[in-house]
């Protein structure tokens, strides 16, 4: 009798017990072993590139390492220390603003590496090779473009950096790659992108084509890369001819790619910088602060408060250096570039303050101020600090200026070079460039033209021009006495302060950096 009970108890136990009890279930979480096998999964990986890419340009801080240029400065104190360090050549490896660019570049690189490394996993739909091949080409093209763009920013800001091409790599002793190796990868990537990408954004099979690079974008970026390779630090001047040829391809086929300069008074309007590319967009990142505020990186924090003076309740993140503003040629472009007066309503009256009476005593940039709710006559009214403005990463104006400069530096077609620079100057409301300049003087004029055109730390920052033309110190020599004095002394011979220190977040774990 007793035994029966005991047996019964064990029978219950054994019934409950089963071999498979500890099997794991993943509930829809994707295991790496079964990911990216069809075009839909590939598409989600490719679209995943745009998360870090958007983040890369989402706030003023990402371009803090470019503050050493003569077009921008910032205020001392407040939370601007991270910007100021670069502005006055006193950058530390623990600068709190620069890790964002560093990290988002490498996040984009890892995402691109996933697609590039594992593109062969994508085999479905096997019965529709046309769709399969088109999706793979588009995906591969975007991945190579994104990786090139990210390395291009890394190599121009930090110089020699780790070169990672395998998404599975975790290497705490990684060494820096040489400039040559990095630029070689960038060029190779863009050449691959150039053949895989759709010719123009309109040819994409994927949706949101305006946000994606086309062959025109890859060629434009490649032209810029070649131009940079001709200058410091590689100084491989043979690249100027390649730059000229590549830029010429874009200029000659501008209509195919859909590139045309906008009128200067429409260039920075919200209408042209919101949910679609404009005719000047070669590559842009897009934001919408209304979608989900819980996805912060998907809204644009460059506009409008960051660029607004404290006198209009702005953040004073960055504003114009006085010497630069004063040298800037009077033109409609100057009016479209600078904010010189603040207007606001007080007790029913419109009040105004000129930049000379601003607390910081500098003019400000107005390129990113136009957002819905922006009120020219009451600039204090706006309190939101994120917006849905897009960020123009490469504009057609840059392609024209790369073309002009590269033709001149490669002893190429100066007539075509004049045509390109004058197209930009005409749009700016400026007279044509003096004719009969020597190639060298012409090239210098283009660099100056670029300063005016891209003033205010656009993603195509003046800083990069100063570095490649070895004029960082020269440009800073004109700094107005009323600005925060420089702490470090940049040197165009020794190239001191040309590159930012490797962020401490990685430097601390890897002694080889």
């Amino acid at each position: 009798m007793k035994k029966n009970y005991i047996l019964a108890v064990f029978a219950i136990i054994l019934l409950v017990s089963c071999q498979d009890f500890l099997e794991e279930e993943t509930f829809g979480r994707i295991r790496p072993s079964n990911y990216m096998t069809d075009v839909d999964e590939l598409k989600k990986m490719v679209d995943g590139l745009y998360f870090p890419l958007c983040n890369m340009f989402q706030q003023t801080g990402t371009l803090a390492p470019c503050m050493g240029a003569d077009d921008v400065t910032t205020m001392p104190g407040g939370n601007k220390g991270g910007y100021l360090q670069f502005d006055i050549f006193n950058a530390q490896d623990n600068n709190n603003r620069m890790p964002l660019m560093w990290s988002t570049c490498y996040q984009a690189i890892r995402q691109a590496n996933i697609i590039i490394n594992d593109i062969d996993n994508v085999v479905e739909p096997a019965d529709d090779p046309e769709t399969l091949n088109a999706s793979k080409a588009e995906g591969l093209g975007q991945a190579h473009f994104a990786r090139a763009l990210a390395y291009y920013y890394l190599v121009r800001i930090w110089g020699e950096v780790p070169l990672v091409t395998d998404y599975n790599e975790v290497d705490r002793e990684k060494e820096k790659a040489t400039f040559q190796a990095i630029y070689d990868l960038i060029v190779a990537d863009l050449k691959t992108a150039e053949v895989n990408l759709p010719e123009a954004t309109g040819d994409y099979t994927a949706v949101h084509a305006y946000a994606r690079p086309s062959q025109g974008s890859a060629k434009s970026l490649l032209a810029s890369v070649y131009l940079t390779m001709g200058g410091y630090p590689l100084k491989q001047t043979a690249n100027y001819a390649l730059a000229a040829a590549k830029a010429k391809e874009v200029v000659d086929n501008a209509a195919t790619y859909g590139y045309e300069l906008l009128p200067i008074d429409e260039l920075w309007s919200f209408a042209n910088n919101s949910t679609d590319r404009n005719s000047e967009t070669v590559f842009a990142t897009f934001y919408n602060h209304q979608t989900s505020p819980f996805i912060f990186a998907q809204s644009n924090m460059n506009a409008p408060l960051a660029y607004l003076p404290g006198d209009a309740n702005g953040w004073d993140d960055l504003f114009a250096e006085i010497a630069f503003f004063e040298a800037y040629p009077e033109s409609p472009r100057k009016d479209a570039t600078f904010l010189t007066d603040v207007y606001w309503l007080e007790d029913g009256e419109t009040k105004t303050l000129n930049w000379k009476d601003f607390k910081e005593g500098n003019p400000y940039y107005r390129k990113y101020l136009d957002v819905p709710g922006w009120n020219e006559s009451n600039m204090k009214a706006w309190h939101g600090w994120i917006s849905s403005r897009s960020m123009q990463i490469i504009r057609y104006a840059e392609v024209l200026l790369v073309h002009a400069e590269a033709e001149a530096r490669s002893q190429g077609d100066l007539t075509a070079a004049y045509a390109s620079i004058n197209e930009v100057r005409e749009r700016a409301g400026m007279p044509d460039l003096t004719t009969g300049l020597s190639n060298e003087a012409f090239a210098d004029s283009v660099v100056l033209e670029r300063a005016w055109e891209f003033a205010g730390n656009e993603p195509n920052a003046r800083w990069f021009d100063l570095v490649r033309t070895e004029t960082v110190a020269a440009a800073n020599a004109n700094r107005d006495d009323s600005e925060v004095p420089l702490v470090g002394t940049p040197n165009d011979e020794t190239h001191e302060f040309y590159f930012a220190p490797i962020p401490v977040v990685d430097a601390i774990v890897n002694d080889n950096l």
């Binding site: 990911y35 001392p76 560093w102 996040q107 690189i109």
Partner: protein, 1014 residues
């Protein structure tokens, strides 16, 4: 509108509850009064002097005289309780008798108590491990509303830290320090045999009868892979045979801010600010007066109410305990409230002579209103610290004065932020634990336990245009847990030759946890709909996320407890656990333990000394585990994200991160313990001392992936942490006369923690509490080989450069008046190379002292608690006293003491300097965390049944958090902002201790309570 409805609902509940309580009082019971007298003797026939005779249910009574005689007036239906130190308590029903003589027998005081251990129980005298007990009697004078308050300062080796003083706020309980770098080191909670996965936040403290805290491995190893952080075994109340008992409790309290900080008034603030940064015109300064006292505006008097009604009783076969509880607390911060309802039914019935069925069912619902994440960078209470006193709450038109532009464009009106927020956190939890016990033979028992737990937490929030000026948003997030457990326990007890006592236990157990979440978010919303209905479909833009994970555990447990004549004890356990979280080769692990004890007081040579009432030596060793990583942790994941491409709709995208770690496995803690129990003077003086050492190896470690490899982290087993220390408990009854009694208990704990090994990294960081506010490091907390967890990483502050030091300052690019930092690596610059360990948060030792005095019907209960040593990074002090990156104004009065050529010996640097640096991660802001708190003072009065004939009453007046003695310059050295870190996998980790970024301070509460027994 919604608020009004809610408060109506609350009043409705009060309106129902109060008459209910009153209605119970109305049945007026008649009883006859008579005088009982008699004599009390011991087993030798000698009279016993000073025996306490009490009428059951009320404190009133008398004592025996020199001849052992007594006389007491009581009613005919009452029961007399005879008690005396060192003797067994005797209860005699009066039943109309007028003469009752009693013979009292000697007692091994407290030692015959039965103590619940895992999967069984033992006599307290037979314990071999380090186990502490807390009974509901220990805190009954105090209006405790949760388990942590009951444990605080009461148990040696148990640290209770209130992270947030918010009603229903986050509490951290640690037993013998923290073993694991990851996740939490919370103990395992087992309620009536059922492991409660969702913690004990929803448990009604009033339903608890007893808690056993298992501390050393010989006691916890029976819980194997989940026992490493100690185990709290909770037994809820049961009914007793006899007449039904109805008990009603009511506590009503008021709370306020215990300690106020000193802030500048508007005129002082403006004058001071203008002295280094001219912001105001002279006319403006002249016009300022006191301005806005933000501290005063955001803190309020909180009201708390706690009602409990319970019914218990039973007959020969069945007993029951049924209770209901309602708790409502308004916070000391504006617009915050916590409300909880709970019910419980515990029923036990003897089905046959051999078969017993037990079922405990409890369900609760809590609603926390606006108690979320205070004490982080953007919390309204942080805004209250840094808002300018010159800013007004309202504009002249009576509208919110939204942005405090003087403090900075991101500083939003704190009163507005508090009043306009709507964050609701609801938890509904139901726990069932049932068991069927069958007595197979006299010696063999089988018990089948089945438990299930369902917990659903819903967070809803609406951010209107005041809270979120960019866009109106709302979200609804639901997190569900369903867990079940089946334990099958065989117990065999046998005594051989009247000397060899065996208890053998075998367990087979299965458990499963299923977690799921569903999150819906929306932006661009019409407020009214969201508030009333949470109707996110009205949002212009919507997004949805969801997920599910599960984990299983399969276990085999065996235990042998043996003793020889109750002198020599041996307990050995082994648990074999299998977890679904690990790969096939690492799925199972075995956790053994062994403990020995020698009860010297049973030896004749000790007995003959006549000194020791109890004397026992204990020693134990064991291994326990921790598997506290999420399911699937060994795999890299393809994670989901969303991109909007500038449109109002979101596109789902994927990313890939992590590393495959096939050998991810258990973290193992090996613990050794040695202890001694001493009882002297018939048990009136007790002493327990335990010495322990715990080594946790194969630490589950979140390894960072370098940013250049794409960033993120993955789990590996790496490193070792050591905790060692001692704990001491002294219990004494210094005075015990019939009328006046004094009980005291004192406990002392010392634990030291050290990271022994951290693998090749040698260093890691804790959580980030101050995004982008620290210089040179991602966290102020460092994890470093050879150093304790909770070490501070920063710059050594050496004061402020004086004019005499101008030359030295200039070498670093500084000027007199700038902060002087140690050039730790002596490279001539102050930069991240100078970061080093500048302090430690762990206390040196902690203690608790509980005193209970009774005089006739009066009782006085005083609990003191002390923490000595350790530091807090007071960043709230830093941002209110210096100019920092995000908080650019000085508001605290201490901040006035800034350097100037005429004030060389200043506390703070020149805020107007353009050359100086001001690091938040600096020793300047590490402050002493030591404190002594008068936790509780309670005065109680028992009202005799002979006065109120139908019931006994107890009235209590108490003060919680009455006094705090500390040098700490913040609100409260006890609270901490740890737990609100930005990186998720370090939330609540013990690497992060003692940081204050405006943590919610604990309140001082005055409570009046009534307890009635019918």
């Amino acid at each position: 509108m919604i608020k009004k409805l809610k408060s109506q609902k609350r009043w409705l509940i009060r309106a129902i509850l109060l008459p209910f309580v009153l209605s119970l009082i109305t049945p007026y019971l008649f009883a006859q009064e008579l005088t009982v007298s008699g004599k009390v003797t011991d087993t030798n026939g000698d009279s016993v002097i000073g025996v306490s005779i009490k009428i059951k249910g009320i404190a009133q009574g008398t004592i025996t005289d020199v001849d052992g005689n007594y006389s007491v007036t009581t009613d005919s239906q009452s029961t007399l309780v005879f008690s005396f130190i060192g003797m067994k308590t005797v209860e005699v029903p009066v039943n109309g008798q007028t003469r009752i003589d009693v013979v009292m027998q000697g007692e091994e005081m407290d030692l015959d108590e039965v103590v619940v251990v895992g999967y069984g129980s033992v006599k307290k005298s037979d314990l071999t491990g380090a186990v502490s007990s807390v009974s509901s009697d220990d805190y009954q004078e105090q209006p405790v509303t949760n388990l942590s308050q009951a444990l605080q300062g009461r148990v040696a080796g148990v640290a209770v830290n209130t992270n947030s003083g918010a009603p229903g706020g986050n509490v951290k309980i640690r037993i013998r320090g923290a073993n694991s770098l990851l996740g939490n080191n919370d103990p395992l909670y087992v309620v009536d045999g059922m492991v409660v996965s969702s913690g004990i936040g929803n448990l009604n403290i009033n339903d608890i009868e007893n808690m056993e805290i298992l501390k050393d491995a010989s006691a916890t190893a029976i819980y194997g892979s989940r026992g490493a952080n100690g185990v709290v075994l909770i037994t809820t109340k049961k009914g007793a045979k006899g007449k039904a008992n109805i008990q009603a409790n009511m506590n009503v309290g008021v709370s306020n801010l215990a300690n106020e900080l000193n802030f500048m008034d508007a005129k002082t603030f403006a004058t001071f600010l203008n002295s280094y940064d001219p912001v105001f015109t002279d006319e403006e300064v002249a016009g300022f007066g006191a301005g806005t006292d933000w501290q005063d505006e955001v803190y309020q008097t909180g009201i708390s109410q706690d009602y409990q009604l319970s019914f218990s009783g039973g007959d020969e076969n069945t007993n029951y305990y049924i209770s209901g509880n309602y708790l409502d607390q308004t916070g000391i911060m504006l617009n915050s409230e916590f409300e909880k309802y709970s019910v419980r039914a515990n029923i036990e019935t003897q089905l046959t002579d051999r078969l017993t069925l037990n079922m405990n069912l409890t369900s609760s619902k809590s609603n926390s209103h606006n108690n979320n994440d205070m004490g982080q960078k953007q919390s309204p209470n942080v805004f209250a610290l840094i808002a300018s006193p010159t800013h007004s709450i309202y504009t002249e038109d009576g509208l919110w004065n939204e942005v405090d532009h003087v403090a900075g464009p991101n500083t939003r009106n704190p009163v507005m932020m508090m009043e306009e927020r709507h964050v609701e956190n609801n938890v509904i939890a139901t726990v069932l634990s049932s068991s069927l016990n069958y007595k197979i033979t006299k010696d063999l028992d089988v018990s089948v336990v089945f438990g299930a737990e369902h917990r659903s937490r819903t967070e809803g929030a609406y951010e209107n245009e005041f809270v979120n000026p960019n866009t109106t948003t709302a979200y609804l997030r639901e997190y569900k847990l369903f867990a079940w457990q089946n334990s099958n326990i065989l117990t065999y007890k046998k005594t051989l030759n009247d000397a060899h006592n065996f208890t053998l236990t075998g367990v087979y157990e299965l458990s499963k946890n299923i977690n799921s979440n569903f999150r819906a978010e929306g932006a661009g919303i019409t407020p009214i709909n969201v508030l009333e209905n949470y109707s996110l479909q009205d949002a212009e833009n919507q997004s949805v996320r969801s997920g599910k994970t599960q984990s299983q555990l399969q276990s085999y447990v065996g235990r042998m407890a043996y003793n020889y004549k109750s002198k020599y004890f041996l307990t050995a356990t082994v648990r074999h656990d299998g977890s679904s979280k690990f790969g096939d080769d690492y799925r199972y692990s075995t956790f053994p333990s062994v403990a020995l004890a020698w009860r010297l007081s049973e030896e004749s040579f000790i007995k003959n000394m006549g000194l020791f009432h109890n004397l026992k030596l204990r020693a134990g060793w064991g291994e326990t585990g921790n598997q506290n990583v999420p399911s699937d942790s060994r795999f890299p994941v393809v994670s989901s994200n969303q991109v909007n491409f500038g449109q109002t709709s979101l596109v789902p995208v994927n990313s890939y991160s992590g590393v495959y770690v096939p050998d991810l496995r258990w973290e193992t803690t090996t613990q050794m313990n040695a202890g001694i129990d001493v009882g002297l003077f018939e048990g009136r003086l007790g002493f327990v001392f335990d010495l322990y050492k715990k080594n946790t190896t194969d630490l589950l470690y979140s390894q960072k992936i370098p940013e250049y490899n794409g960033g993120g982290s993955y789990f590996i087993n790496q490193g070792e942490v050591e905790n060692k220390g001692f704990e001491m408990l002294i219990t004494a009854v210094p005075v015990a006369t019939g009328n006046f009694n004094w009980d005291l208990s004192f406990n002392l704990t010392k634990n030291s923690n050290k990271v022994v090994n951290l693998g090749p990294d040698e260093m890691g960081f804790g959580g980030d509490y101050t995004p982008q506010m620290l210089d040179g490091a991602s966290s102020i907390f460092v994890i470093k080989t050879g150093q304790p967890m909770g070490s501070f990483w920063g710059y050594q502050w050496l004061g402020v450069y004086t004019s005499a030091e101008a030359e030295e300052a200039a070498r670093y690019g500084f000027a007199p008046g700038d902060n002087k930092y140690l050039d730790y690596n002596k490279d001539g610059v102050i930069d991240s190379g100078d970061l080093h360990i500048i302090g430690e948060a762990n206390p040196d030792f902690t203690w608790g002292l509980n005193n209970n005095f009774t005089y006739k019907n009066l009782g006085l209960d005083i609990t003191l608690q002390g923490v000595h040593g350790g530091q807090i990074a007071n960043l709230a002090y830093a941002i209110t006293n210096t100019v920092t990156s995000d908080y650019k104004r000085i508001t605290h009065s201490d901040g006035l003491d800034v350097w100037s050529p005429t004030n060389e010996d200043a506390a703070f640097a020149n805020p107007g300097s353009s050359t100086g640096k001001n690091f938040l991660n600096s020793s300047q802001f590490l402050q002493e965390a030591s404190y002594v708190k008068v936790r509780n003072i309670a005065l109680s009065y028992n009202l005799n049944k002979s006065i109120a004939r139908f019931a006994t009453f107890k009235f209590t007046f108490s003060v919680q958090n009455a006094l705090t003695f500390t040098k700490y310059k913040g609100y409260d050295p006890e609270v901490s902002s740890s737990g609100v870190a930005q990186n998720w996998n370090n939330r609540n980790a013990d690497t992060d201790l003692g940081i204050d970024i405006g943590a919610y301070p604990t309140a001082r509460t005055f409570t009046f309570g009534v307890q009635a027994n019918f």
